[in-house]
Point group: C2
Chain length 86, copies 2
């Protein structure tokens, strides 16, 4: 993998630095990090007793839940378009 | 909110119990939890030195990244359909 042009981007999430290595653009990685940071702070404000690990796990839970819904919408729309083209 | 019929579902993610309260069905919550658990284990297998907090944050990063891509695809397809209907 060393020969690929992979980006290394260091971002700050909930006060700690994380180095993200991948094919994504730097701007995409920064937007992702900022979304995670925002969500963690939002969940913390509603649940002040949670520790950082629990906060991050619950952030993942929220986002997977949204992800599955959006993916379902996308699949339904693709299916609808396919039927209309027949 | 107490009067709503909100589900309380306790799930196990990466060896710890989390109680999720929300309007989602139990089966949806269980699928979400199992997706998060799988992703954490997958990232851990590739990065054994990560602690659970870092693992949880990086899992959120991966999931937000996928979420933003799928959401972008959905918005483009909706836009395309709107233009075709004009």
């Amino acid at each position: 993998m060393g020969e690929n042009r992979r980006n290394r981007v260091t971002v700050d999430i909930y006060g700690e630095p994380y180095t993200i290595v991948g094919d994504e653009s730097r701007s995409h990685v920064r937007m992702v990090a900022s979304t995670v940071d925002d969500q963690m702070r939002e969940i913390k404000s509603k649940n002040p007793y949670l520790d950082t690990k629990q906060l991050a796990v619950l952030t993942s839970v929220n986002i997977v839940s949204e992800y599955l819904k959006v993916k379902d919408q996308l699949e339904k729309l693709e299916e609808k378009n396919r039927k209309e083209e027949e």
